[in-house]
Symmetry: C3
Subunit: 293 residues, 3 copies
Amino acid sequence: MAWTRKDLVSMQDIEATEIGEVLDTAESMKEIATREIKKVPTLRGKTVVNLFYEASTRTRTSFEIAGKWLSADVINFSASGSSAEKGESFLDTARNIEAMSPDVVVVRHKAAGGPALLARHLRCSVINAGDGAHEHPTQALLDLLTIREKKGHLEGLNVTIVGDITHSRVARSNIYAMRRMGMTVTVAGPPTLIPPACQELGVKVSHRLQHERMTGGFIPSLREYSRVWGLGLDRLQHCRPDVLIMHPGPVNRGIEISPEVADSQYSVILDQVTNGVAVRMAVLYLLAGGKAA
Amino acid sequence: MAWTRKDLVSMQDIEATEIGEVLDTAESMKEIATREIKKVPTLRGKTVVNLFYEASTRTRTSFEIAGKWLSADVINFSASGSSAEKGESFLDTARNIEAMSPDVVVVRHKAAGGPALLARHLRCSVINAGDGAHEHPTQALLDLLTIREKKGHLEGLNVTIVGDITHSRVARSNIYAMRRMGMTVTVAGPPTLIPPACQELGVKVSHRLQHERMTGGFIPSLREYSRVWGLGLDRLQHCRPDVLIMHPGPVNRGIEISPEVADSQYSVILDQVTNGVAVRMAVLYLLAGGKAA
Amino acid sequence: MAWTRKDLVSMQDIEATEIGEVLDTAESMKEIATREIKKVPTLRGKTVVNLFYEASTRTRTSFEIAGKWLSADVINFSASGSSAEKGESFLDTARNIEAMSPDVVVVRHKAAGGPALLARHLRCSVINAGDGAHEHPTQALLDLLTIREKKGHLEGLNVTIVGDITHSRVARSNIYAMRRMGMTVTVAGPPTLIPPACQELGVKVSHRLQHERMTGGFIPSLREYSRVWGLGLDRLQHCRPDVLIMHPGPVNRGIEISPEVADSQYSVILDQVTNGVAVRMAVLYLLAGGKAA
């Protein structure tokens, strides 16, 4: 088994063999969702705490379902209305939760580095479920699972990530993971929203569409953004016939992507959601159940 | 088995045999609540998502308890703080949830027709837990269960529904269901709050109390409403000695109903709550577990 | 078995043998948290409802974990967004919950006496999880468990409770419980925040620090409070070398207690949190599972 980490907080230093193990595990987890009885006793007697400082019903639900299908006890601890509001520090709240003996803490925080801080200080496993504009590792893993499932492999594939790259933790985690798996990554978007350091990560930058209109280098309005960067059927025609259209959700139809594209045969957006549960089952298993295996 | 529907969204087109099957099933479910161990493995490995766009802790709790006693995994997905607030459409949110492979989605929405929309588009079962001023089918079913339990039968019984009928999803579902079971339904309330189409549904309209005071056809205040339409001990004296007093809750004591009536021997308000869990167990079972039976 | 109560609402009239039984039971429960599989079937088929009228994610989580490790079904019923907001009375809400057949209702309420009211009116067991400035019995029990664990006994020990005693439900429950166990209790704090009736409870009052600055008998600011009553390393030097520093959380570092003291070798703050789960398991077991034993 390649997986020996206590935590999953970043894709930056993760090995290709580790990613491979998560994806292989997720594939076998995925089969559980197709059963009449979607439940295995793998994590029975393990406790997973969802510690969410940012509202995210979707991601929290995905982790909650993943935990429950593995028979873990899942506790939702939202920061609103909690001791965090009474002046307690983030680390003190986390240490309090740790004192209740969870096996895994899944943490979403608006501050980049929050999950890494917990991972250093807590003995239990920590999963980063999104920290500010930093990383969102399980989203990258579910994206890779979806691509591998549809294409049969990852190495050598070309991926273009379109939009606000600077503020996207999804983009950042995907860039690390996809580069590690030997994929070619291009980012495209308004120049103001492409981080200067992109090329250091081995990523190509495309400003192809820039000259049409974006001379000022900023986005005057959502309508403007949509006209220049939105993905509609017209732009889809320039893609390969076997292109995959992905989106981490929630989809703002008509802004980043047109309804016709979101619902097209190329769209794998809902496959991503399905694979999200499988990937989170895999990660929970590798972190909390692996020792027993 | 009469039940072959994928969903329960309305009482409008439901058959008497279907209602009968829910009530019979609920009766046997009700026995579980009296056991030392309130738990059966019937829906083990099934996933129920409570998708609530309107706050309703009581109804959500009733469904949650019903699901858990049947050993289902129950996930609460409240719309506040969710992707719904980030611009995602109702149907996209629901499709995302569906992609996580639930067996049943229980939906409450402020818009009439929301649950019907989901029922058409989702492969999983959909239960309407209240949609705007439209319907609230499980409330009607638990009302029928309560009446049948107390009276031994339904056919031929006289029911008077008092209050704001126009905006009441409980009244609407009950009118459909009670008419289907051969009951005589009379509605009574301020004329402004009785829908004109009532008589087309085979419902009698009583404005008996109207002439006392309601000449303007509107309610100047809650105190005024209470004086004219509130159910106190004085009015209870005109009822049959075996009358049942029902209320879907929450009870505003002193407005619609006096404390003396709410706590009287005629009141079956808490029986309704108890039967709510049983009816929801029955519906969950018929939708999610019936295939295996 | 000493425990025959239906409810746990106050430490005022509880017997030393009852406290002893909770602590002994908690000690054996605590061992479960150290297992590979943290789960026993003791309360399988029992239903615990957390009825919280005040936000308290930490205490609610502690009860939720306690219930789940015992295999109970745990339902979180928060008052916000519930029927309580629609004009329903506290007792009606509670009776509604009771009608859903829970075995235990854990209630937190801002009004002193709320849990006692429910205990009188509900057939199911009621646990006070904090009511206004009145009591917080499980906090006192977990404090006693922590002290007994560290000291080997309770009788004859000296405890000083520092701070706002008047508004502290934790202080009040602890004073009752500690006096019952033969401990000597001293309270210290700004005179305005020490209840006059303290001495009737057999508690010593220390105003030692008062004369330094508190001539006005009030606290001009948090900074002022911290300077006079905050526990820093300097004051710790006057304590015995085997002193235990305790805090019910959440800790406002730098106000009541300095970071150096909170993290010192004398601090058992996180032990308290760990013992909180064990004590709540014990109480849930004694109330809901004891009959079967």
